[in-house]
């Protein structure tokens, strides 16, 4: 009889934990989805809201892409982290979800620059900042909430479900965008179809809010509140007290900084490298990343669970070390797989098509060259030249060297190379799962309950937002520095890897020297 009661109680506990994980993970996944659709559609958004001929709008475009990613996220972490430690986890991360969902939905409805002028980029910029703020508060809340419901010894496993959400959010964003784009066609999608992924978010957020409303507060927070042990000033306690500040620093330098660059390199920089250095066609490059993400995602749970057995430290450090060693060979192999220099062209199959059309006050000449190669690779080069009909304007632009044609290169890989590319990206996603799978449990366990939300959120968002979020900007810059002249290919397409390799190396040394592997058995008190 007593055995039956125990079994029923254990089953109820497992079922309750599953509900907690599902409610937290779905909301966090939607927040990542919301955040990533903006980044993935940055080019279209830029055309709609931030016209290049308006310098202020162009500046806002750059800031909207990067500022919300790294400057605002840590502020969100501080603001909502403090709230979460003062009033509770449940209500705080419910608020972040509402803010994120509301701003995403609103971005989908903002009229373009052509309709409302400068208000359009200003509104979108403000909404993007709100997105960053909300994301800064969401992750720490979800990870803390799940960890505080998880039994000791299984925290790595349970929190790893939260860790899958960032990658799944990116996968969902890429998937929805590809489906909508393929369904509506490229032109309609660029015109208004891009709004659908934003508007769709409101449905997902609505469902998630409904689920989260029904959840109860974290038991540890409730207990602490009853005993009157909550922090009166979580910010001061987190960052002014030496004992906590030193843990914040070790979490940042020894874990999240390295994890952040590995995360962004394996997913975002890989996509950027495929599209810009390898010129792989838009749909194919997105599919390569999406498939690799989908196959790699279960490994977050594998490494999260493994960290309960052997400790968080060695899995995270192994992920960083292998990434540092393997990045250059992997990216070299990706480049070699796509480069046309080593492929044999079937000259008979080459076609050149030239079209000329008058659009408004301009003559647009489009030259499309298509080439085929013996291994099945196809190459399409589109050169578009826009020349004003007005001879005075034409002469002015020519004098300012602004009559340069726009060139778009698209390589479509054959099946063999396509699968190899998926493999190369998948290896990088595995590194991501090694460094990221156990990190929520690691962060939760090094801070006390009373200031956990605040303390863990800041190093996480500085590591991911600043160190990781800057990977595309700094790496692209490093590659550009090797370009001998505008229009010529960069001398070293792998130069961009120097930044993530350097940061991950320093993080590895600090992590190995100073992080303890014993934290996995600490009680969350």
């Amino acid at each position: 009889m007593a055995q039956n009661v125990t079994n029923v109680s254990q089953t109820e506990e497992v079922s309750s934990t599953r509900r907690v994980i599902a409610a937290s993970s779905v909301g966090t996944l939607i927040e990542w989805y919301d955040f990533y659709i903006f980044g993935t559609l940055a080019k279209i958004i830029s055309e709609q809201f931030f016209p290049k001929d308006n310098p202020t709008a162009a500046l806002l475009a750059t800031l909207a892409t990067f500022a919300a990613g790294f400057v605002i996220r840590p502020f969100g972490a501080l603001f909502f982290g403090r709230l979460g430690d003062l009033i509770g986890r449940k209500y705080t991360f419910l608020v972040t979800l509402v803010i994120m969902g509301g701003s995403t939905f609103a971005i989908g409805l903002v009229p373009g620059y052509k309709t409302i002028g400068f208000f359009a980029p200003a509104i979108v910029f403000a909404l993007r900042l709100l997105q960053g703020l909300a994301l800064g508060g969401e992750y720490g809340g979800a990870a803390t909430y799940v960890a505080e419901h998880s039994p000791a010894g299984h925290r790595g496993f349970w929190t790893s479900f939260i860790q899958t959400t960032a990658t799944l959010g990116l996968f969902l964003a890429l998937g929805v965008i590809l489906i909508v784009r393929q369904t509506l066609g490229v032109e309609t999608f660029s015109d208004w179809g891009w709004r659908i992924p934003f508007i769709l978010s409101s449905l997902l957020v609505g469902v998630s809010i409904f689920i989260r409303m029904r959840m109860s507060e974290s038991p540890m927070f409730v207990k602490m509140k009853k005993e009157g042990k909550t922090s009166a000033n979580p910010l001061a306690e987190s960052f002014k007290k030496k004992d906590n500040l030193k843990m914040v620093l070790i979490a940042l330098l020894g874990a999240t900084a390295g994890q952040g660059v590995v995360w962004y390199t394996g997913q975002f920089y890989a996509l950027s490298f495929l599209q810009n250095a390898c010129n792989v066609e838009f749909v194919q490059s997105n599919l390569i990343i999406s498939i690799a993400l989908l196959i790699g995602t279960p490994f977050f749970i594998v490494f999260g669970a493994l960290s309960d057995k052997i400790g968080r430290k060695y899995i995270m450090m192994a992920g960083m070390l292998i990434a540092v060693i393997a990045y250059k060979p992997i990216y070299q192999a990706m480049y070699d797989e796509a480069t046309l220099k080593t492929k044999v062209e079937i000259v008979d199959k080459t076609t050149v098509e030239t079209k000329e059309a008058v659009k408004g006050t301009d003559t647009i000449t489009t030259k499309i060259t298509k080439k085929s190669y013996e291994d099945g690779t196809t190459y399409k080069e589109t050169v578009k030249t826009t020349i004003p009909l007005d001879p005075v304007k034409k002469a002015e632009l020519a004098a300012a060297d602004k009559l340069k044609p726009e060139t778009k290169k698209e390589v479509t890989l054959p099946s063999n190379s396509y699968y190899k590319m998926i493999g190369f990206v998948l290896i990088q996603v595995i590194f991501v799962t090694m460094v990221y799978g156990p990190i929520a449990a690691f962060l939760v366990e090094i801070f006390p309950t009373r200031i956990r939300y605040t303390s863990m959120s800041l190093p996480y968002h500085i590591g991911n937002g600043v160190f990781g979020g800057l990977v595309p900007l700094i790496s692209t810059r490093l590659v550009e520095a090797t370009r001998p002249a505008p229009g010529l290919p960069p001398a070293d397409p792998l130069a961009g890897l120097m930044y993530p390799i350097l940061i991950a190396s320093v993080s590895f040394v600090i992590g190995m020297l100073y992080i303890s592997n014993k934290t996995n058995n600490m009680d969350v008190e």
Partner: protein
């Protein structure tokens, strides 16, 4: 192990201090060579956001390590 941790504390602090003039000099050199808007935005982000975080965290972390604050975490 404790001695190595302390010794590396000096390395982290020096790295944190050294990064400040290094980044500022590189920024000045690149902006002087090509004073484009793109260059200004890039180096503003690096100098205003990235550099202070790296410098502050490495210097403070290095001092803590040198004082033996992380010895108990073995």
């Amino acid at each position: 192990m404790s001695a190595i941790k302390k010794l590396f504390g000096i390395v982290w602090s020096l790295m944190g201090i050294g990064i400040i003039p290094l980044v500022i000099m590189q920024a000045m050199k690149e902006i002087a060579a090509k004073p484009s808007e793109e260059n200004w935005i890039f180096w503003s982000i690096v100098i205003v956001v990235l550099m202070p975080i790296i410098a502050f965290s490495l210097i403070t972390f290095g001092i803590f390590a040198l004082k033996g604050e992380y010895d108990v975490l073995e």
